[in-house]
Symmetry: C2
Subunit: 463 residues, 2 copies
């Protein structure tokens, strides 16, 4: 007979850990470093703290592939009542809001904690002190796979000396460092390329220290949480908004809970939906909810989603980063105007570097980023590759392969449409694909002008 | 201040529905048809019932892209106390066991229910009668996104006339039928190719009926649930097994809860782990659990995982299917011996069709299947494409492109390592990649022999 049962989120992601990037020891140690570094950058940069991050990978028992990954940051820390859940409950996060962050699923660090506890059996060690707190908190945590509750076998606190703040996370796991090493070092390097305001260090089991010192204290403006845009709303989302809202009337709900809706627009929408402005929103029927969502979808005059929750890298920083790492003869970059898909704002940025110390290759070399995270796997199924590697005819821009060409593509959004929770490639959303194409063409035209000029100068020289 | 919160599985997959294949109305209507058909095939074939499945897509309001998808089957039905959860609780399934089925996540139909309720606002209609039941049950169901509990606004039952059994699921959703139509029809066709014992019909909104009648009543042997293999065990998995087990001693636990462990092997393993055979398993410490897992991993003499939970298509059925659909001049297929990765058994099957009515193409045409499910998206990131499209040098087999070549690859496993819960491509697991390569080479050698012979005959004819 069929055995019917339900399972919680912790058990589900433990069983299917490969979809989160923890399918084998090589990917697992890479993903562990990533998830911790991404959390540290969110805890600093998003709060305008110049990041100082140290990653240490130590060999605990290299014959058994047991390593300890430790990441230290000077971020905002985690409050002691929240911290056990932050590290011990799957689908728990402070990033479930409409604001551009690297984190979005509430899963990353828990997958690393789980992988450590299932391969080595030890809990994860966390030391943290929130900004302004008088205490430092230290605790060990595991995820209870059956109940999705944190287990805290040890905890303590002591008075803080000085006003440092930040977090240290230390996980012991079975990981194939030798196979993962190149990708991990590349990940750190590509993170540093676009974050010259960050001081990042990685120390390897072999004792090698690689440091990317801060080049500037200038930080990008942090993203500000935005209200939902009506274009992104479906019936369930509307239900949830009404649930949480304190608005007494339907008209007030539209004005206070959504961006781009003022009193005039609210009246127009309510008329289209055939709803009275002073209805109590909590009493709407399913048909009335549907009518309102239909009105949102058919209304053509909304101001597009605000870009205030976004935080692009900026064309200048992209050029500085590409120059310092690749030493090209030509570099150019563009940050497109904000756009949107399904009510979610996004910005595409593209940089191109050519020649100089870049070695020629048969295809463009593509550096992909999403919400400032370097993406190193699954290139061929990424929308950026579709544009840069398959759609653009580079011969139109005087580039003939083999050629020394590097293209950087960054997609920044309140919701990056990743193909999976392992965050390795981005889906082909038409609006995003179009923006990438326009951005690449914009910068490629400048490359063409440069190559044409260079060609002419070389011909003149020959004569 | 950071807003920390947790969310349940229903809210998580509702928010991130694109990773489950519901990111836009075109993919959503395709995925809805898929998820329902895959459930119907599991409810029939896995229980040795010759499947009779009818898929109907009706236009409810084509200007608004509102369609109703209904799938009828003659399967085992669902018991009335389980049915609300089967359709209304995310991560609820009867396939969380070690047995080859199309379903594995406990998510599929709930995503379709959610998509219907968020785009059109209506509940899903389910009519079901389990085999042997005297009643027919009918109910409407929605998923409560906040609590992950089913909501059943209507339900009823009545005495069954006759001894039919099966399930009908009917969902109204916003879907781009016009864009999805080709893929949906291709999906049904490719399902029928490898299931000649199934009677499958699809009726389109345009009123077109496509039927794939049954060609044989011979059914493959259904898969049998297997005990876990020690090679696939980690500390958490061992913990869960001990939790559920009634074994009084550690030695008894090893023998009864695992395959491939008899009394002799159990003694060897326990010695290696330094554990007493008559220890109460429920009292093991973390270090003892780790020692036992280490013993499992270091022991080299386990019998490989049993293939009894697998249900391959079979070389004969593959050849019949390819012949009937493609009308090639050459067709050959192979079912490899069972293999395993990480303790999970799998079988690779490959078929090749060449020439005849197959049009020439610049690359091999690849038909991918996993657990008998046709995979139509994300081809380039699939392990089968890596072998067939990138690794194999087809000129070694006298194939020069453009060429009329179709390659079918089927991966059958108790755990298919999909890249995402949308089940569109399979990860590059080395053991699986190797088996695909060996299988393709095996069949390609037969193609080479055929093409060489054909070449010789043509040369003789010229003289
Ligand atoms: N180094 C850190 N400093 C401050 N807060 C942290 C740190 N690491 C984790 N957190 C907190 O713990 C939460 C959970 O982290 P986790 O990585 O699991 O999810 P996330 O970052 O929100 O999303 P994602 O799964 O996409 O990474 C974060 O949202 C954040 O609030
Ligand atoms: N047509 C059907 N006939 C019989 N049982 C069904 C049918 N459809 C669904 N079920 C039951 O409902 C359960 C949930 O289905 P659902 O599609 O959500 O998950 P699944 O098939 O187990 O896994 P997956 O998410 O991989 O599809 C199934 O496991 C099965 O027990
Ligand atoms: Mg994170
Ligand atoms: Mg299913």
């Amino acid at each position: 007979a069929e055995q019917y049962r339900g399972m919680g989120a912790a058990e589900f992601f433990y069983r299917n850990k490969e979809i989160a990037g923890f399918g084998n020891p090589t990917r697992a140690i890479y993903q562990t470093v990533r998830e911790l570094v991404e959390n540290s950058l969110d805890a600093t940069e998003v709060h305008k703290i110049p990041p100082k991050i140290v990653v240490q990978v130590e060999a605990v028992d290299p014959d058994k592939n047991i390593y300890r990954v430790t990441v230290d940051d000077n971020g905002i820390g985690i409050p002691p009542d929240k911290a056990p859940y932050a590290f011990g409950r799957v689908l728990y996060s402070s990033k479930y809001v409409a604001r551009q962050t690297r984190g979005m699923y509430g899963l990353g660090v828990k997958m690393a904690v789980l992988y450590g506890q299932m391969t080595v059996g030890k809990p994860t060690l966390v030391i943290t002190s929130p900004r302004g707190s008088k205490f430092t908190y230290r605790f060990k945590v595991k995820v209870n796979v059956k109940t999705n509750e944190p287990e805290v076998p040890e905890k303590g606190e002591w008075p803080k000396s000085g006003d440092w703040h930040g977090t240290r996370v230390s996980i012991e796991l079975v990981g194939d460092w030798r196979r993962a090493r190149t990708k991990i070092l590349e990940y750190i390097k590509r993170t540093a390329i676009i974050a010259p305001y960050a001081d990042i260090t990685i120390i390897t089991p072999e004792g090698i220290l690689v440091r990317y010192p801060r080049k500037t204290y200038e930080m990008p403006e942090p993203p500000k949480e935005a209200k939902p845009h009506p274009k992104g709303i479906d019936i369930e989302a509307l239900r949830q908004i009404i649930d949480k809202s304190k608005a007494k009337t339907l008209k007030q709900l539209l004005i206070t809970e959504f961006q781009s809706i003022g009193p005039k627009t609210a009246s127009v929408l309510l008329k289209r939906a055939g709803l009275e402005p002073d209805l109590n929103p909590k009493t709407l029927t399913d048909d009335q909810l549907k009518a309102l969502v239909d009105a949102f979808h058919s209304y053509e005059k909304f101001r597009p989603p605000s870009p205030e929750p976004l935080s692009p890298i900026g064309a200048e920083l992209i050029k500085i980063g590409l120059k310092s790492v690749l030493k090209p003869e030509f570099v150019e970059a563009v940050t497109r105007r904000p756009s949107a898909y399904g009510g979610h704002p996004f910005i595409v940025e593209v940089g191109i570097a050519y020649g100089g110390e870049i070695p020629p290759a048969d295809q463009p070399v593509l550096y992909r980023y999403a919400n400032k995270i370097p993406l190193l796997y699954d290139e061929k199924s990424d929308v950026a590759w579709k544009v840069v590697g398959e759609t653009i005819d580079w011969s139109n821009y005087k580039v003939s392969f083999p050629a020394p060409l590097v293209v950087l593509v960054h997609i920044a959004s309140t919701k990056v449409p990743y193909k999976g929770v392992g965050k390795e490639s981005v889906m082909e959303v038409p609006e995003i694909e179009r923006e990438i194409r326009l951005a690449v063409q914009e910068v490629a035209r400048k490359l063409k002008r440069y190559l044409t000029k260079k060609e002419k100068e070389e011909e003149l020289q020959k004569k």
